[in-house]
Amino acid sequence: MPKILNSYRFRRFKNRLFFGICLACVIIAIVPLLSILFEVIARGASQINLHFLTSNVLQGGIGPAIQGTLVIIGLTSVIGIPIGILSGIYLAEYGNNKFASTMRVINNVLTQVPSVIIGITAFGLIIIYVTGTYSPLAGAVALSFMMIPIVARTTEESLKLVPNSIREASLALGVHKWRTTISVVLAAAKSGLITGTLLGVARIAGETAPLLFTILGNSFFFQGFNAPMDALPLRIFLNSRLDAAEAQSAAWGAALILILMVLALNIGVRVASRGRNLSFKVT
């Protein structure tokens, strides 16, 4: 009898031990997150003031970077959102065939393609063949290559959640399928579409490598579609390689702005899809 009791106690101890270990894993994983947030705030917050946010880089500010990020997000969205959503509509509404499943697989593969590769491709395509110089257009194309698969997938997932009864009701009233899709189904999935798009934006807002090869970075504000442009992630990267303390501090300030933006988008997505069955993975 005592032998069994010992065995039980040991097993119970093991149970508690591993519970503790797993909990420790969670804590260990969260520590870097907290450290990053802490450091960015601690080192970047002191930089933030109106001058910093609005002057160009030579004057010690990151105005061009903020402007550039907004410009590139805008341009990318113009290309990426329509294509992504339409693509997602096809996959959801007409997608019961081999072509669609192949596209789905390719979309998934594309989301994992290293961002450097996307940068090289955009460089090779746009800069060599189209514009001849570094250009926000090339940057937008590069980022849209990354955005389209994400938006397509989230759109498809959102549309699939719309119950078939809605489609059938509309079709039964004699509405064409394309009209049904656009007016009825899309409207019903509106919030999912929006959150999916926001997710795509959040993802590309922080990308650096594709921009490195396409817009290069610039100390000055936007200079047209045939010139290099700055962006927050780029500015952080470029400044981090300089020895000057002011440049490095500016990098932290830019990091603070960038992380606030990205976190706001992510939390916005989370809040917006609360209470629904949507579970877009941030990864």
């Binding site: 069994i4 065995s7 039980y8 097993r11 119970r12």
Partner: protein, 248 residues
């Protein structure tokens, strides 16, 4: 085993009301009643599986050999070794061989491979009347045999631990009639060495295999007695209605 003033809840819904019921040793006790009457809940209370559900609550006592299994110092893990369970849908471990399935419980308490383990596995499979059918295929996955055989494997798995009580929650409802008949025969044999409690919605089965029967309705124990009494001369009109199939 014995339950005293047992009440159980799922969140705010009360599933069992004041159950006072004895499970006599070395006999088969059947628990019958219409769906939703709480018989599955009751049986899961007996081996402390009920508490695995997040919203479960319980008051009262359940005695095993006179000791309350819900006393503070008692570890559910220990209880579940002494009170085994067989489920409605056979659930042998798919990632393990037939041999390993039976040996699983023993390995958890440190039994090493060897003649001893082989002996126990063989004995359990024999008692579960499965040995002859699988003795050459012990390395095959536990799910590679038929449904009825899988259920007997689950019984063997439970028996391997030499429990004092074996609980069965509608063990044949997912099986075909031939397999069910085999299991019923097995249940009657098991009572020689074990105490058995079997939940069933099949009244004929209850009358065939059990010595005692308890009738539950809407969470309360309506009547309990020897199987012959319950089926031939039930005291409670509700029991009679159920037996004769007026509802259920």
């Amino acid at each position: 085993m014995q339950s005293i003033n047992l009440n159980a809840w799922f969140g705010t819904k009360q599933a069992l009301k004041d159950i006072n019921l004895s499970i006599k040793p070395n006999a088969v006790t059947a628990i019958i009643g219409p769906s939703g009457c709480g018989k599955s809940t009751f049986i899961r209370v007996l081996n402390r599986m009920h508490e695995l559900i997040p919203t479960a609550k319980l008051t009262g006592q359940v005695l095993l050999d006179g000791e309350d299994i819900y006393a503070k110092e008692v570890d559910p893990v220990m209880i579940r070794r002494r009170v085994g369970m067989v489920f409605q849908k056979p659930n042998p471990f798919p990632t393990m061989s037939i041999y390993d399935n039976v040996a699983a419980g023993l390995r958890l308490t440190g039994a090493k491979k060897g003649k001893n383990l082989d002996e126990v596995v063989r004995r359990s499979l024999e008692q579960a009347t499965l040995w002859d059918e699988v003795k050459d295929d012990l390395r095959k996955p536990g799910t590679s045999i038929s449904g009825g055989q899988q259920q007997r494997l689950c019984i063997a798995r439970a028996i391997a631990l030499q429990p004092e009580v074996i609980l069965m929650d509608e063990p044949t409802s997912a099986l075909d009639p031939i397999a069910s008949a085999k299991i019923e025969k097995l249940v009657v044999e098991l009572k020689r060495d074990y105490t058995v409690a079997i939940v069933t919605h099949n009244m004929q089965q209850a009358s065939r295999v059990s010595d005692y029967t308890a009738f539950l309705y809407l969470g309360a124990l309506i009547e309990y007695g020897s199987t012959r009494e319950i089926f031939e001369s039930p005291k409670n009109p509700l029991t009679e209605k159920y037996i004769t199939g007026e509802f259920g």
